[in-house]
Symmetry: C2
Subunit: 365 residues, 2 copies
């Protein structure tokens, strides 16, 4: 079997407000170096690089981030780093790439990958993606990466799987963010996986699915795709893209198609175990770095000293950090701001950013 031609499509339009004050409109989570030397999006591209040449990568982002992303990903073709003229969620974003690729290479396999996730085992990740790509290359298959759930998380979507076929699991149903009781039940059955927003399909399969489930948007995207490479592309993109429906590919395609039934929908789930985290908050970043467990202090600083202090995450680049008698705090310092909260409350940093917006404190956003 020939190795399928993989085209990674990196979705990098989010803001990641929960990493305020480090994350800002023009410096979103995906362009920050939260876990090491490289930024999240650099990590994402580096992780996939062995599977596809640089010319195959596409990045969909927004106007505020495009130039910093182009700078960070200097080896990628600049024309394939697209800034959406208006935020239109994942269906139009990946859809445009599908319609463009369908014209030149209809059996190309598109893989959708968020730009801001952490994956600790890159090798196993690549093996899983390669397997998923091989399945997606055949016929009208759609492959979803399924993550083994470890807690009754209410913030993710869930994939219910059915019978094992050809070494992968058939998909019965998608459920968006369940309540806690439902999530606990899902967890107990062992038949549910987290939907981490990583999908693979051929350009033709996705294009046809969009024509079927999202016909008006598909027409706009086809017109834009027809202009690809021509001088008029920018103006056509700017004019028509905002007319596309603001909808996720999960909802527009996967959920609708899954209603055809497990066999007819041809949606497959590949269980994936490669040390995944969506790094959703300062608490998650603490957990990522705290090798010695949750009681460990993580000081992202020049150096530090803890006296009867445990489980704190403190970011103060270049400084000496001293923690005395404090537990489970999150303290993050930037050039112009200082955040003080707890690991338990770090989800509420998003609320804080909303409040900054309400107060029109633009220079802090």
């Amino acid at each position: 079997v020939a190795r399928p031609r993989l085209y990674p499509v990196i979705l990098a339009g989010g803001r990641g407000t929960r990493f305020w004050p480090r994350s800002r409109k023009r410096l979103a989570k995906q362009v920050l170096a939260l876990t090491g030397e490289r930024t999240m999006i650099q990590e994402t591209v580096a992780r996939l690089a062995p599977l596809a040449p640089a010319r195959n990568f596409w990045v969909i982002t927004n106007g505020a981030l495009r130039s910093v992303i182009a700078r960070q990903l200097g080896k990628l073709p600049r024309t394939q780093i697209l800034a959406e003229p208006a935020a239109r969620n994942t269906a139009p974003a990946i859809g445009l790439a599908a319609f463009i690729l369908e014209r030149t290479d209809p059996s190309a396999v598109l893989g959708l990958f968020p730009a801001d996730h952490v994956i600790s085992n890159a090798k196993r990740f690549r093996a899983t993606v390669a397997r998923a790509a091989a399945i997606a290359a055949a016929g009208e298959n759609i492959v979803v990466m399924g993550l083994k759930p470890t807690r009754p998380e209410t913030g993710y979507g869930y994939v219910e799987v059915g019978a094992r076929r050809k070494g992968v699991l058939g998909v019965k149903r998608f459920t968006e963010k369940p309540d806690r009781r439902k999530a606990a039940r899902f967890l107990a059955t062992g038949r549910y996986y987290w939907n981490a927003g990583m999908f693979l399909w051929s350009a033709r399969t996705l294009a046809n699915a969009l024509r079927e489930h999202l016909p008006a948007t598909a027409r706009h995207l086809e017109t834009i795709a027809a202009a690809w490479g021509a001088p008029r592309f920018a103006s056509v993109y700017r004019r028509l893209y905002p007319k596309c429906e603001n909808i996720s590919v999960d909802y527009a395609v996967l959920e609708r198609r899954s209603r055809k039934g497990e066999r007819r929908s041809k949606i497959y789930c590949i269980p994936a175990e490669f040390g995944w985290s969506d790094l959703g908050s300062w608490a998650a970043l603490h957990e990522h770095h705290a090798r010695a467990g949750v009681r460990a202090n993580v000081f992202d600083a020049a150096s530090g000293l803890a006296l009867e202090a445990h489980g704190n995450y403190i970011h103060a680049p270049g400084k000496f950090v001293a923690a005395v008698g404090v537990e489970d705090l999150v303290v993050v310092e930037t050039r112009d701001a200082l955040l003080v909260t707890t690991r338990g409350r770090s989800q509420d940093v998003g609320k804080l950013v909303k409040e900054l917006e309400r107060r029109k404190l633009h220079r802090l956003l």
Copy 2:
């Protein structure tokens, strides 16, 4: 009655390690602007200025602080800002000023004042000092400012008073830092005051007391005083001052003299109520600023926002501070360091500085 000639002697040799990371060896508490625009020592001098001309002021400090103090107190005679060649506690420090003044103006009244205390009612403070100075000017009287105790504090010295004579209280006994039970008993009797280290006496009275109670040190100080104004002063001071006994004036003079009995010792206590605080920790500074009570946040920053956050003290000059779901914390940021602790643990910042010393982290000291 002629107004006595008051010579304020400001003791400014301390380090105030509990205000780390703001306080450093070369930037001790007394030269920091902790409570407002002016530094603690500037406040101390300004508070006394209506009672004495600038030429009457003396400042005793150390070599690490002398130049910054001279800069901050530009109107004072530079020759009267003395850096001790070796730290020798309060008896030699004020003693030298007494022997120098005794030669030119034996009935001059010396008033000893720490450089780093907060006094909220300056007018009442001056009225009390003026009254104390008038008493100190007469005969061999020694006057101690007594602060009404408000809690069984174990970190201060206590003055036990006896009969009221000529409108002031006779002093029976000095007790250094009692344990908590003893302090509580003192408080209950109503006959004890805190000794805040503010004393007044004539040059002659203090010089004679030192000759009596500390004869060897008195001889050295007289030799140094005899060189005052001559080119050889600096070398004599440098050579002989380190030979003086390292002892507080409380212990060397007051305690010993008080053993003569309440009448013969001629030590008087003036009860003082002028909103005093020795501002001993970040918690005390929070209390000083928190007009609305201990649940109030105090942000020493460009601006700030609190979401379900109470009782925090956060110092981050020029920055926007955001506190989310945290209580009673102390966070202090400087150019090179970040301290995170609680109000309750802020006494332990001194321990932290000791640990920095042990680790020889000189650039942080």
